[in-house]
């Protein structure tokens, strides 16, 4: 490419910008227009969130006449306590969400680590074919298996329990297996060989040597699983009927769907529920982002930064 040669020739000429200062390439210069646009975008993106906060702090009278304002005018902080009281079972919803998510995360972390390690390190006939199948299954949409799985769980008598939402996670997910395999492949194999000479079996190697080293990728898998189960709506909608079993993602919608005819749903409390639904995910991302970047599955390149 001819253009590539140009800067090489220019190197060492007095036109080079002073040391320590980034060259003022036009494509990177921020103009007032840049700032203006960014500010408008930021305003558009935050308005719904401010509005949610405003509704969450509204009194019941405001809810009934629907006169919400974007900037809060009243501050009923007790709404946050009310949803845990007798009025709405948000406390129960929250507990259900925590239970389902924790077991799902544990299932994925335990099973995906083991399977991914085996695909990366152990040798056996038929391994490559099986790994191809793992990759291929990532492309199958969940809708195809939705109905037969429902029939299966119904025949097992698991409808209206947490089991259909938790148990499949103990059988590892193809994408997670793939992540672990990529990660293990890049760890030095001298580690396991040394452990083997010390007389450790394969499971011992996995548990004592590999499992601790897989920390970044397992935490990342935990975060992915948590985000997925925490926000899952269709699964609970299919399998759970009783209000006392619902996770928050379904419960919040359930409150609005079942509000009495001619009466506004308790929007202030529903929005408190929505905030409770969103906050843990924001917190998890904030605390977990360094593991997501540390995981570096891109195979040698710099990875996402």
């Amino acid at each position: 490419m001819a253009t590539l040669a140009t800067p090489v020739r220019k190197r060492g000429h007095e036109e080079r910008p002073a040391k320590g200062r980034a060259p003022a390439v036009r494509a990177f210069r921020a103009t007032p227009f840049t700032y203006g646009t960014l500010l408008i975008v930021a305003a558009i993106l935050t308005t719904p969130l401010v509005f949610v906060g405003s509704i969450a702090l509204s009194g019941d009278a405001t809810v009934n006449n629907g006169a919400f304002t974007i900037i809060p005018r009243e501050f009923h902080w007790d709404n946050f306590a009310r949803v845990f009281g007798t009025e709405l079972p948000v406390g129960t919803f929250l507990l259900n969400s925590v239970l389902i998510s924790l077991f799902s995360v544990a299932g994925q972390v335990l099973s995906s680590g083991l399977v991914g390690y085996a695909f990366a390190r152990l040798r056996a006939p038929g391994k490559n074919t099986m790994f191809l199948i793992v990759i291929a299954t990532m492309m199958i949409p969940t809708q195809i298996t939705m109905i037969p799985q429902f029939i299966l769980f119904r025949d097992l008598g698991w409808v209206n329990t947490f089991l259909p939402l938790i148990v499949p996670n103990f059988f590892s997910n193809a994408f997670n297996v793939f992540l672990v395999r990529q990660f293990v492949s890049r760890l030095p194999s001298e580690l396991d060989e040394a452990a083997m000479m010390d007389g450790l079996g394969f499971f011992g190697i996995y548990r004592r040597i590999m499992f601790p080293m897989l920390r970044p990728v397992l935490i990342a898998i935990g975060i992915f699983t948590l985000t997925h189960t925490w926000g899952d709506f269709m699964g609970p909608l299919i399998y759970l009927n009783d209000e006392s079993k619902m996770p928050l993602a379904l419960g919040v919608q359930y409150i609005t769907a079942t509000s009495q005819a001619g009466q506004a749903p308790p929007w202030n409390l529903v929005m408190v529920g929505s905030i409770l639904l969103a906050l843990p995910m924001i917190l998890v991302y904030y605390l977990g982002q360094k593991y997501l970047y540390e995981m570096d599955i891109s195979g040698g390149s710099a990875g996402v930064k």
């Binding site: 390439v25 036009r26 969130l49 529920g273 639904l277």
Partner: protein, 323 residues
């Protein structure tokens, strides 16, 4: 990759070097293979019980008339024929899904690209802007849908904003023609997910290219079109495929924003493939018909994915090809 029967040089000190041409697996190798099958058994069982079995069952159900309580009745391809020739709701749902995907996916990409390009500049408080743009993608879809039910209300912020210009906004979720734009608007709010990937890719473009372009007198706009955009095409393509697959599977938004029964006009205008499939299976217990719809949906997604892949050679630019 070493095939299992080819012995690798000196794996452990204890093991005797295997004689060449040895046909059987050594004892150690057998133990290793056994451990492998044991280790992957969670995936194996999961694959058979939750994927392969259900897929075969789904093909069978789709060829039957079945309410899930009485024995299934074999009907051959009747369900597929009904969906394609005798069910106006199916075509309506397909059209709505297509409409939604065709606008929301490119729109999300353009917004994501545009925001990433803004954040790639030497902006103060870049971290703050980046966080704000990413924030909507961190909020679970259910919560987002609840939020947008309020945002899109007749007296919500969007109509308030339109009111500033003397426009009276529509009743977004209850007024047929406005329902799909409302769903697209909501999806655009989450365009920041693409921004993060695109921004990461932009950082990887060699700066020398821009410096060279600068010397040649190219404007910032020209540099974007001639350097930034071509380098991003692989990421754009990835986002396009994932976006298409997700858009075709839209469910929670529709289900929550437009409650069935309470809003017939809106419901009709927003009926997409997965809510239709869900209704057929779990409201009307037409398991056979719903299974057929799920395969048709799969087919539609496949067709669009293949079309997208077919076009890649024309516009996706891989750096390795230039060598």
């Amino acid at each position: 990759m070493a095939t299992p029967t080819v012995p690798k040089a000196a794996p452990t000190a204890a093991e005797k070097p295997p004689s060449p041409g040895k046909p059987k697996l050594s004892k150690r190798r057998r133990r290793e293979a056994l451990s492998f099958y044991l280790f992957i058994s969670p995936w194996m069982i999961g694959f058979l019980v939750f994927l392969l079995g259900p897929m075969i069952a789904s093909v069978y159900y789709s060829l039957t008339d079945w309410d899930s309580f009485n024995p299934p009745k074999w009907v051959g391809f009747q369900n597929y024929v009904t969906a394609l020739t005798d069910d106006p709701v199916f075509w309506k749902a397909l059209w709505n899904t297509f409409y939604y995907a065709a606008i929301s996916v490119p729109l999300g990409l353009v917004i994501g690209l545009w925001l990433a390009n803004l954040l790639n500049k030497q902006v103060r408080a870049r971290k703050l802007f980046r966080t704000l743009i990413y924030l909507p993608t961190l909020i679970p879809l259910v919560a987002t849908a609840m939020i947008f039910r309020m945002v899109l209300a007749p007296n919500g912020p969007i109509n308030d904003f339109l009111g500033l210009f003397g426009l009276s906004g529509p009743n977004w979720l209850f007024d047929g023609p406005w329902v799909k734009p409302a769903l697209i608007l909501m999806s655009a709010w989450g365009a920041g997910a693409a921004t993060v990937l695109l921004l990461a890719a932009m950082k990887g473009i060699p700066r020398e290219l821009y410096e060279a372009a600068e010397v040649d007198g190219a404007s910032a706009t020209r540099q974007f079109w001639s350097i930034t955009l071509p380098h991003l095409t692989p990421i754009i393509f990835f986002n396009l495929i994932m976006g298409l697959i997700n858009a075709f599977q839209i469910f929670s938004q529709v289900y929550i924003l437009i409650p069935k029964g309470k809003n017939p006009a809106g419901y009709d205008a927003a009926q997409t493939m997965v809510p239709l499939l869900f209704d057929q299976a779990f409201s009307y217990y037409r398991m056979g018909y719903a299974s057929a719809i799920s395969w048709l949906l799969f087919l539609v997604i496949m067709v669009f994915t293949v079309i997208a892949f077919r076009t890649t050679r024309r516009w996706v630019f891989y750096e390795t090809e230039v060598k």
